[in-house]
């Protein structure tokens, strides 16, 4: 046992030394640092502009509500905006602009992807990991040193483990140096205010990158132990790399859309719009007619008049005014009631649709988890609050805020109406003391917990590939 450990230790030391002294290690370190530092630098500048614009928009909308606030168009004027996550300097995740929700959205965002730390790790570092490990076994065989290693008493599994651990050290150091340099750029930038939580996020993200890179080192060794020559090994490794990194994650959302089809989103939007607009107007007209004919038949003639004439008639007759006020109040209640009913009906239609969309999204997520790169992408986006979870988290808070705001506006409206019965929905409503929307990102603990399944899958991939390499090497012909 001690003998085995000794061999393993010396094998790992030899691998590390060989790697550190190789030209590819030096090149990889320089390339990694240059790439990550440049990317983070560019993304920091981009975030600064985006953040400034976000603050400007919030301020402008706030000032508008202060100046022109009124009950009738409150939902239209008070729209909550998702703040850019300061950690998007590391991971861009779901880009707001790429959703193209506006007529004048920048189309580039929907056509071309952008480079960030996560893309560098998923594509470039995984490729580097394979290039470091594809000749681990087959290369030693070709050089004739594999037989010497075995003859010196090293066990087969210690050779594989030694290659894995030694190779890992060589492959992990350049990205780690680069990531630290990148983080230093962020820490020194005045545009990004880092908190203690961000350091935890960074640590976990770095650990996730190590785990992801380790999966590809294990994969390279697996194919190396299943090939006679390094030429064959690299081809097999790159074949699987293409499938795992470039094919599975990209085809999964499309496959999910075909396997679990959902109706057109625009059709549902139209349907809900009809419910809360045209259908609402029809119902309202019908009930209003009923209301007038059963309770306010005496006002039939007055109601038919234009607003200036009504005002003139009411000014002359006090009893008519009180009767008309009673009618106005009941009409307002009716509008509220119909609005509420139709809104509920529309909400039900969109909720059903949302549930089905969620199911499609979940299916796509399950399919993509067959690829280590997708799992890493979920880890990276969820940790940095730039992924699907963050968008949902924000949407929940914005929804809660809108309800609070709605309640507040209702209370304020009632207060004004009590003071002045002539006050209506289009009159200025002082909302300056309203609650303000402040987005609270989810806690680091929750974010880490959310990524646990993805970490689990990454571990599993690494374990399976390494176990495969150990098993394959047991039957490897070293001649």
């Amino acid at each position: 046992m001690t003998h085995g450990r000794h061999f393993l230790r010396s094998l790992v030391a030899r691998e590390i030394l060989e790697n550190f002294l190789s030209a590819r290690f030096v090149i990889m370190s320089l390339v990694s640092v240059a790439l990550i530092v440049t990317t983070i630098f560019v993304l920091t500048a981009s975030y600064e502009g985006e953040h400034r614009d976000y603050l400007g928009r919030v301020r402008q909308q706030d000032q508008f509500i202060d100046q022109f606030g009124h009950h009738n168009r409150l939902g239209w004027m008070s729209r909550q905006m998702r703040p850019p996550s300061h950690l998007q300097v590391l991971v861009l995740g779901i880009d707001r602009e790429s959703q193209q929700e506006n007529f004048i959205s920048n189309p580039v965002a929907a056509l071309l992807s952008r480079l960030d730390f996560s893309v560098i790790v998923t594509i470039i570092f995984s490729l580097m990991a394979m290039l470091f490990s594809y000749d681990a076994i087959s290369g030693e065989r070709e050089a004739g040193t594999l037989r010497l290693l075995l003859a010196s008493g090293a066990s087969r599994h210690s050779i594989v483990l030694g290659k894995f651990l030694g190779g890992l050290a060589g492959v992990l150091i350049p990205p780690s140096i680069a990531a630290l340099a990148g983080f230093l750029v962020i820490a020194l930038s005045p545009a990004v205010q880092l908190t203690a939580q961000d350091f935890v996020v960074f640590g976990v993200l770095l650990f996730g990158s190590w785990l992801y890179i380790a999966v590809f080192v294990a994969l390279g060794i697996l194919f190396s132990a299943r090939s006679r020559t390094s030429g064959q090994s690299i081809l097999k490794s790159l074949f699987v790399w293409v499938v795992l990194v470039l094919v599975i994650p990209n085809i999964s959302p499309f496959l999910a859309a075909e396997l679990y089809s959902i109706p057109s989103a625009a059709k549902i939007e139209q349907e809900t719009f009809l419910i809360t607009d045209r259908e609402r107007d029809e119902i309202l007209r019908k009930r209003w007619k009923e209301m007038v004919s059963t309770k306010y038949a005496d006002l039939n003639q007055i109601i038919a008049l234009g607003r200036p004439e009504i005002e003139a008639r009411l000014a002359k007759d006090a009893s008519l005014r009180s009767r008309y006020d009673a009618y106005s109040r009941e009409y307002e209640d009716l509008v509220k009631q119909v609005n509420l009913e139709q809104r509920k009906k529309a909400e039900k239609v969109s909720e059903t649709f949302q549930e089905r969309s969620k199911r499609q999204e979940q299916l796509a997520k399950t399919l993509t988890s067959l690829s280590p790169s997708a799992n890493f992408a979920f880890v990276a986006t969820d940790l940095t609050e730039t992924g699907i979870e963050a968008v949902d988290h924000w949407a929940r808070q914005a929804g809660e805020y809108n309800r609070d705001m709605w309640r507040y506006a209702e209370t304020r409206y009632t207060q004004e109406k009590e003071k002045n019965p002539a006050f209506d929905w289009n009159d200025y409503l002082d909302l300056r003391a309203r609650p303000r929307f402040e987005y609270r990102p989810s806690g680091v603990g929750d974010r880490i917990a959310a990524t646990a399944p993805n970490f689990g899958v990454l571990f599993l991939f690494g374990f399976v590939f390494l176990a495969g390499a150990l098993a394959s090497f047991q039957r490897y012909d070293v001649r």
Binding site: Q61, I104, P107, V108, L246, N250, E258, A266, K267, S357
Partner: protein, 417 residues
């Protein structure tokens, strides 16, 4: 040269590498076709459900283009439903905005296969062209047999190019014929012209990457190092330059996001309605909806006219930076040819805005009479070739010539010992 070309093909066609890489290409093309056609069918269904029935002039939706099966580009955007009113344009969700995983990953269409994977395969086919012969000791023998260096380089370059491009061209042609026979696809002469142009651009692109692989091969003396170098250049031009270029362009141009313009337009509309209603209350005059609508329309026009040139400038700058990479230039070229590129998006938006401007009174019910139907035919191929694709073509050819030049220069001075 012909002898070396033939020898290259004969030697490589039976190798494990040819089998694996061509197999990979076959799998990718088939998967891409299945996925892209399925997606096209969904977009078609969406279009058929949402397209204006009869005289619904306020609805605009473009039909998906058959070539979008090969290069999806901005098709999800171009195929959105726009609802027009005197207040402006409402953009409805695209079919893919529901599943947000689409925004996290790339579209695996034929363009992706060509841009990323065909380039990758070309590198893996050519990285050992010179260094491999040197390692085996056959380079000296070739030179001793009287073959000229330039002939060796040309023979090897075109030999390896043939090995990558011919299987791809056959697969691509088979795919194009299959797609033309599928239901929902109308294969017009424009379709075949587009296929021809995409095929031509792919040929230049594959030649370019084969030359890059050969350049890497002639730069060093070990094939393993040449492969790392070749894949390094591939990573730089396929992922780093175009993807970083987008952010760089955004940072330089400092154009605010669409959200800001949307907010300004929304708040202007609310203010206009609010102020009119308040004035009516005081003056007791009738509510003048025509005035409100005209005010809102004028404000929106002002915003659009101010913002559109800035956005177009940003798009132009992004194009310029992205073109610093052949993969970027190819992506721009192919999407333009497939009618799913940036120009088509700009064209649609300008056309929609002009249409609103022309019909604003009738759309808003301020004037009686029928509104003419919105029409926008895809840009003719001749116009596409005269537009921004000319620059993309020049860039691709320059990159190709540059890498062939580099590969030749290094090979001519290569030490075969």
């Amino acid at each position: 040269m012909i002898t070396i070309w033939r020898k290259e093909i004969q030697e490589n066609i039976t190798t494990y590498r040819f089998f694996v890489l061509t197999g990979l290409l076959f799998v990718l093309v088939v998967v891409s076709l299945i996925v892209s056609y399925g997606d096209y069918q969904l977009r078609m269904e969406n279009y058929n459900v949402l397209r204006p029935q009869g005289s619904e002039a306020q609805k605009i939706i473009l039909q998906p283009q058959p070539l979008s099966i090969f290069a999806k580009g901005l098709d999800a955007n171009l195929g959105r439903l726009y609802t027009l009113s005197a207040l402006g344009v409402e953009v409805h969700s695209s079919q893919q905005s529901i599943n947000r995983l689409f925004s996290l990953f790339t579209v695996p269409d034929m363009l992706f296969v060509i841009k990323v994977l065909l380039a990758f395969i070309a590198i893996l086919f050519s990285f050992d062209a010179i260094s491999g012969e040197k390692e085996m000791g056959t380079l000296k023998l070739m030179l001793a047999s009287g073959a000229k260096r330039a002939e060796i380089v040309a023979g090897k370059l075109f030999g390896r190019f043939t090995l990558v491009f011919v299987p791809f061209a056959l697969l691509f042609l088979a795919t194009a014929i299959l797609v033309s026979l599928l239901p929902d696809v109308s294969a017009s002469p424009e379709y075949w012209a587009g296929i021809g142009l995409i095929g031509g651009a792919s040929a230049v692109y594959v030649l370019l990457w084969t030359a890059t692989g050969m350049f890497a091969s002639a730069l060093v003396h070990r094939s393993a190092v040449a492969m790392v170098l070749g894949l390094g250049i591939w990573t730089l031009f396929v992922f780093v330059v175009p993807n970083l270029g987008v952010t760089v362009a955004q940072s330089i141009s400092d154009v605010p996001p669409g959200d800001r313009v949307e907010m300004e337009s929304r708040l202007t509309a609310i203010q206009s309605i609010y102020e009119t209603l308040q004035r009516v209350k005081v003056t007791h005059e009738e509510r003048d909806f025509a005035r409100i609508m005209t005010q809102i329309h004028e404000a929106n026009s002002h915003l659009f006219e101010q913002y559109a040139p800035r956005l177009n400038k940003l798009v132009g700058l992004t194009r310029g930076i992205v073109r610093l990479s052949p993969a970027g230039a190819l992506g721009l070229f192919v999407t333009e040819v497939a009618h799913t590129g940036l120009s088509e998006d700009q064209r649609l938006k300008s056309a929609v805005w002009l249409y609103i401007d022309r019909n604003f009174k009738r759309l808003g019910g301020l004037e009686k009479g029928p509104v003419d139907q919105f029409r926008l035919e895809p840009m003719p191929i001749a116009d596409i070739l005269g537009g921004s694709t000319l620059a993309d073509t020049i860039v691709l050819i320059l990159f190709c010539a540059g890498f062939i030049g580099l590969a030749t220069w290094r090979s001519l001075t290569y030490d075969p010992r």
